[in-house]
């Protein structure tokens, strides 16, 4: 199956990426090529196969709930795009 321009617009919105009209054809074609290629997986019978999410079996990892030193507020905010009053500052969310 191939991907339509409408699909690409929908996926782009989900991924929070703006694909301008001028690039829509090229992006649709390159995504369709890859999706068609991965279609080959549909040939396999996987009805009795369990999925692998991690190759090395590790279960839940537990640790003591202890207070440890971490980055200071100042250190953490040193990477902020914008900071105010000890917090990350973001654009207005609720008007």
């Amino acid at each position: 199956m191939s991907i339509s321009k409408q699909d690409v617009k929908y996926i782009a919105a989900l991924a929070r990426i703006d694909v301008p009209e001028a690039q829509l054809d090229a992006m649709t074609k390159s995504l369709s090529d890859v999706v068609q290629y991965v279609e080959t997986l549909q040939k396999l019978d996987v009805s009795n196969v369990k999925p692998t999410s991690h190759a090395v079996p590790v279960g839940n990892v537990w640790r003591q709930d202890q207070v440890k030193t971490s980055l200071t507020n100042q250190e953490a905010l040193a990477i902020a795009v914008e900071a105010k009053e000890g917090s990350f500052k973001v654009p207005l969310v609720i008007e």
């Binding site: 990426i17 991965v38 549909q42 369990k50 692998t52 902020a80 795009v81 654009p91």
Partner: protein
């Protein structure tokens, strides 16, 4: 021989016997970088923090641009992280610093490790030291090129689908992807969390063992780190393969494999036979599905991991001049659209599609099931084999620009390396010849989980009986 040409183990011997100072070695490599990096372009920036040369193993090292290094700018070679200074050291960087490692600088990579040629970097490509018209491979192209050009004694890279081994093969050096969980991923900027592993790129197998000794081990800050004892990997450097069983998958020698690569790998097999190893033909029937599986699983995980780059907390933030939806969503979209390059956008969207409602079962879940089949194939083969040998890449290094406009053909250059990531097993690439055009050829050995020692032994034996690893590019 100049100081910068030394292997790390040779340098450490000279430092130990007080014939060379650690600072002299560091300066010699820095001078080498000044002389040849304008041509190779392996480094994206030099270290701002000067080392103190007091540690036990003061080897000058290059660091891939996705390993958080305190006080240095780390960007994954992406515009979206320009200006990001890591507030902490990655687990491997802590270990390198504790061992006395002297960091030279940060080296180039495909943007967010999305690529096999180092061409998707926002800084422009790195060039192959053996032929400056060619790519160094990727995504750890800067790591491999810096070591091959003697611009670093060794380097750290990361490998999600071949990103250490393929550039190592293209540049004629040694590259190891350890078992998943062997090396802490804490502080590695994530691409595909269930596949990523950090590993060494070195001038020979001995150096590979030494760097593995430094970086391996449990780290509670990485929940997938495995608490297995770490052996002294240098003890595995034994020149003997007598009685060992090397598997050759019949699926590996198919159409599309460059005849010169095939010949070099077949010659290596003959040598192993002469040295007393048993060669067994084996079958990995699901490997033809590995690339398709990988591009579902890896892009799905990438789309999720890269959701954090939204202009809110760190990196760059962009606001469009006109309101499109609302201030916040507009900011997300503008930041991501300007910050990510084309390949990053393609992979994020592909992964978003594979995970989206209505397609999850057909793509992501199916991909994970085929992953099981590929892993089962390898488990089966390792019942009767100590390791499995294949080419590392179907071709030698290709020309810069040759595959940029054809993502699918670029993806297929990872056909031999991807299965080890899907199965979580260790795999090494070592030099095994040169093409008539003078480009290095690499071969890959895959091993059982946590049996890096077998890979080191089998590759060390090959290296001791050949001279490919001693050749140097003319720069």
């Amino acid at each position: 021989m100049s100081l910068y040409q030394l292997t790390s183990h040779a340098l450490l011997d000279l430092i130990k016997s007080r014939q060379v100072g650690a600072r002299d070695a560091y300066i010699a490599v820095q001078e080498r970088i000044k002389a040849v990096d304008p041509k190779v372009k392996a480094y994206v920036r030099m270290a701002t923090v000067q080392p103190d040369f007091t540690g036990a193993l003061p080897v000058p090292i290059a660091i891939k641009d996705n390993l958080c290094t305190k006080q240095e700018e780390i960007t994954c070679s992406s515009r979206i992280l320009k200006g990001f200074r890591s507030p902490y050291d990655a687990g491997v960087i802590e270990r390198v610093k504790q061992s006395g490692g002297t960091i030279l600088g940060i080296v180039n990579m495909d943007e967010f490790a999305f690529g096999s040629s180092c061409e998707t970097s926002c800084y422009g490509p790195t060039f192959n030291p053996w032929n400056l018209q060619c790519v160094p491979g990727g995504s750890s192209g800067g790591s491999a090129a810096s070591v091959a050009a003697d611009e670093a004694m060794w380097a750290l890279g990361s490998d999600t689908g071949g990103s250490i081994r393929q550039p190592a093969a293209f540049c004629g050096i040694v590259g190891l992807k350890p078992t998943y969980g062997r090396v802490s991923r804490y502080g590695l900027i994530a691409f595909a969390s269930s596949l990523d592993q950090i590993g060494p790129l070195t001038k020979d197998v001995h150096d590979c063992a030494l760097l593995m000794n430094i970086i391996s081990g449990y780290d509670e800050r990485d929940s997938t780190s495995v608490n297995e004892p770490v052996p002294d990997y240098t003890k595995a450097l034994v020149n003997d393969v007598k009685g060992l069983r090397i598997g050759i998958p019949k699926e590996a020698f198919v159409d599309g494999l460059d005849p010169e690569v095939r010949k070099s790998v077949e010659d290596a097999l003959e040598l192993y036979k002469k040295l007393g190893a048993t060669i067994k033909e084996v079958s990995l029937p699901h490997t033809p599905y590995a690339v398709a599986t990988y591009y579902i699983v890896a892009t799905a995980e990438a789309s999720s991991n890269l959701a954090r780059f939204d202009g809110v907390r760190f990196g760059a933030r962009k606001q469009p001049t006109q309101v499109r939806k609302n201030a916040l969503v507009d900011m997300y979209e503008e930041t991501r659209s300007q910050g990510f390059g084309d390949e990053a956008k393609r992979r994020i969207m592909l992964g978003t599609y594979a995970l989206s409602s209505g397609y999850y079962d057909a793509y992501y879940l199916r991909g994970q099931k085929v992953r099981t089949l590929i892993k089962n194939d390898l488990d089966e083969v390792f019942k009767d084999c100590d390791c499995v040998l294949t080419p590392t890449s179907p071709t030698v290094a290709f020309k810069v620009g040759e595959k940029v406009s054809d993502p699918l053909s670029m993806y297929l250059s990872d056909i031999y390396t991807i299965p080890a990531n899907l199965a979580g097993i260790p795999a090494i690439s070592i030099p095994c010849g040169f093409s008539k055009s003078g480009l290095p050829i690499g071969m890959q050995l895959m091993g059982k989980a946590f049996d890096e020692e077998m890979l080191l032994r089998v590759s060390y034996t090959y290296e001791q009986n050949t001279e490919w690893h001693l050749k140097k590019p003319n720069l």
